[in-house]
């Protein structure tokens, strides 16, 4: 009897431990233990301390840290503490957990497609009133209209464009010239295919490209389609325009013209293939211009950027992050956070981050500045993304969209990896699943 009882107890305890870890482990870790949870006045002065959480390391982090430091030195009322939180997914999960724990940072980066779910959950402070009050100083209309699509949710302003991007085509011009290919191209899907055939004969891969949802959104736009219906309640990616990119990719992979690595390392593999001059092209965020120029210089090849090739027309989604203020702050903290937001998005600072990282200059006045005109003259690689904005569109912001992207990605991978799966069937199946989520 005793033995039985012990066994049962042990079983219960083990299960308990396990399940607790399962559902709560990640959340527990996610809420980081930072000392200055909310605005805490530092020292004897009335200085207000606010936290700013950001995503990504590398060039973007350097620039963000530099800007925060300058902000702190520029005045003596507000102290911003910047904290790195991993990639966008990590950052979002942490902000959510911290918010649930009443511990959220005052200001955070927010990937644009997630603005909808964050705003509708009441996690973000609406900025409309602030923007109206300070309209003379802020000059909201000076922001590039192509970047404002994701700043509004249900006609209310929730974020200011910060490090915004579009995907562009990176080219190894030295390699193209070597094989007698016009370095101005490829301008269309067909041209890309022709280029890739020549490159294949020479033992190279045309392009290594992960089946990333962002690039897929671009190819759908180029085909003249949409990801979701106009009201966002149903999928539109199983239309001919949405299936065309998958069929194109499948055919190119089948002929050995491009490589589509899958899995978590896919993006890194694509970058490595391009950097090691195994493939001539890569798609990448404009955020990588600065870093890619360094790679090209180090490896001794000439690099150019251009629009992503067109199918029916050019087209890209925008990307990157905006700055948001979390809800439930005290009035003082709100003002401090708003001051910081305004400062981070000034003309001078958007020029700074553009030149030092490669993200888009968010303000029209920045594009007009002598500073950037001279910069574009010297490095035309930076200008491509700005010009391409003409063909840019916002990303879908439905609350279910993150989950839908997972379903789409699986369907694309399945179509490409499994020779027996027809793209249309896979996308139809994905659309059916997505409709259930979107119609809620």
């Amino acid at each position: 009897m005793i033995k039985k009882f012990t066994a049962l107890t042990l079983a219960t305890v083990m299960t308990a431990t396990l399940a607790a870890c399962g559902s709560n482990g990640a959340g527990g870790n996610a809420a980081t233990n930072s000392p200055n949870a909310e605005g805490v006045s530092a020292g004897s002065s009335d200085k207000i301390v606010i936290k700013y959480w950001y995503a990504f390391g590398g060039k973007a982090e350097e620039a963000k840290k530099h800007l925060v430091k300058e902000f702190n030195e520029s005045q003596d009322r507000i102290e911003v503490v910047a904290e790195h939180q991993g990639n966008y997914d990590d950052l979002h999960a942490k902000v959510q957990a911290a918010f649930a724990a009443g511990n959220a940072p005052a200001v955070s980066d927010l990937e644009i497609a997630s603005t909808g779910v964050f705003a509708r959950s009441g996690m973000l402070e609406e900025l409309t009133a602030f923007a109206e009050r300070d309209s003379a100083e802020l000059q909201l209309e000076d922001f590039n209209p192509g970047l404002m699509g994701n700043a509004y949710v249900d006609e209310k302003l929730y974020g200011l464009p910060f490090m915004r991007s579009t995907p562009i085509l990176y080219k190894n011009v030295t390699m193209l010239k070597e094989f007698g290919l016009d370095p101005e191209g490829p301008k269309s899907w067909d041209e890309l295919e022709q280029y890739a055939r020549v490159l294949k004969e020479k033992g190279k891969t045309g392009m290594t490209v992960p089946a990333d949802i962002w690039y897929y959104e671009a190819l759908v736009a180029q085909s003249g389609g949409n990801m979701l219906s106009d009201n966002g309640k149903s999928a539109a990616f199983n239309t001919p325009e949405g299936v065309a990119p998958v069929e194109y990719w499948k055919k190119m992979v089948g002929d050995g013209l491009i490589k589509i690595p899958v899995g978590d390392e896919a993006g890194a593999t694509a970058d490595k293939d391009w950097a090691n001059q195994l493939s001539a092209f890569k798609f990448g965020s404009t955020a990588g211009v600065n870093a890619s120029l360094e790679i090209a210089k180090g490896s001794g090849f000439e690099m150019q950027t251009s629009f992503m090739p067109a199918n029916k027309d050019y087209g890209v989604p925008t990307g990157g992050c905006q700055l948001v203020i979390t809800a439930n702050l005290s009035d003082e903290e709100k003002e401090a956070a708003w001051t910081f937001l305004k400062w981070m998005t000034t003309k001078e600072n958007t020029i700074y981050q553009h030149k030092n990282v490669g993200y888009l200059p968010t303000r029209l006045s920045a594009l007009e500045s002598e500073d950037l005109k001279a910069h574009f003259q010297e490095f035309p690689q930076y200008k491509v993304a700005v010009d391409q904005l003409e063909y840019a569109r916002p990303r879908p912001m439905e609350s279910a969209y993150p989950e839908v992207t997972k379903i789409i990605r699986e369907a694309i991978e399945k179509s490409i990896l499994d020779p027996n799966t027809a793209p249309q069937d896979a996308m139809n199946e994905a659309a059916e699943k997505a409709n259930k989520l979107l119609s809620k």
Partner: protein, 290 residues
């Protein structure tokens, strides 16, 4: 009897009980509570949906895939780790400098953080630039896709888990082997027992508590697998490596569906509870207790 002597035992266990209740018991009940809501953790509207989350889950094809992935992963990892560790332990159960060195070498992965291990193996298993494919190429075989293909990804993760767990398991087995009294061996050799008979009739029964312990520990560890998946595959490609805990994480913290994730957590609780009880019922009869 004074009041103090009556209260003392409760005071003594209080810290452990409080921590346990706060971090294990309370979250479990909160999870069961949340599993009946449609909520995203922060929104002011929290809708009661009863058992709808469970119905959705069980109807979800991906969830069945996740369950089967988790089961395959657990069975493979537990069998391979325990089996190989036992063989290693039999070989290493000698005192020499060389054996000591090998023992130390295979134990070392156990003390390395799983995050570092995941990154390390991601590089080793890179289809283009990885060391493993380079070696395979030298040997004249076709390169493997490792984590990048649905057919090999899960097995690749099992490999990493076995590599990580082998040393610890072997160490525990060696300790178990060394605690078998020498006189039993002597008696066996006097009876001219063949090595295989010694192994099946003597070593295995004497080692059974150790085997039992390791199987349970490994099983629970495998069911909890998360870090390697989060870092190396994120459940892909095509859901081929998505396991229960990662699925829960994904829905809770990437898609912000905390009710749905909690429902999956409850199912995990039930499955592991049943498994553990079955284990104790079945195996406890065959375990030799001295």
């Amino acid at each position: 009897m004074t009041l103090w002597t009556k209260l003392r035992p409760y005071g003594m266990v209080a810290p452990a009980i409080i921590v346990f209740s706060l971090f294990f018991i309370y979250p479990i009940f909160y999870m069961i509570y949340l599993s009946m809501f449609d909520w995203n953790f922060v929104s002011p509207t929290k809708t009661f949906v009863g058992l709808q989350n469970f119905r959705d889950l069980l109807a979800e094809e991906d969830f069945r895939k996740v369950l089967s992935n988790t089961t395959i992963y657990t069975v493979l990892t537990v069998t391979l780790t325990t089996g190989l560790a036992l063989l290693l332990a039999l070989w290493l159960n000698k005192k020499s400098l060389f054996h000591g060195f090998v023992q130390g070498a295979i134990f070392s992965p156990h003390i390395i953080s799983l995050v570092s291990i995941s990154l390390l193996w991601s590089w080793l298993m890179d289809p283009e630039y990885g060391l493993l494919n380079w070696v395979i190429g030298l040997a004249g075989f076709d390169k493997l896709q490792w984590l990048s293909h649905p057919s090999t990804a899960l097995v690749s993760l099992v490999m990493v888990a076995v590599w990580k767990g082998l040393g610890y398991n072997a160490l525990v087995f060696i300790a178990g082997l060394q605690s078998i009294p020498a006189d039993i061996y002597e008696a066996a050799s006097l009876d001219r027992s063949k090595p295989w008979t010694t192994f099946t009739k003597l070593i295995l029964p004497m080692l059974s508590p150790t085997i039992f312990f390791l199987v349970i520990i490994n099983m629970i560890g495998s069911f909890q697998v998360f870090e390697t998946i989060a870092i190396m595959t994120q459940g892909g490609p095509i859901n081929s490596t998505n396991t229960l805990v990662y699925y829960i994480y994904e829905y809770g913290f990437r898609f912000f569906k905390i009710g749905y994730a909690s429902a999956a957590g409850v199912i995990l609780l039930v499955i592991v509870g049943i498994l553990t009880i079955i284990y104790f019922k079945l195996l406890s009869n065959r375990v030799h207790y001295r």
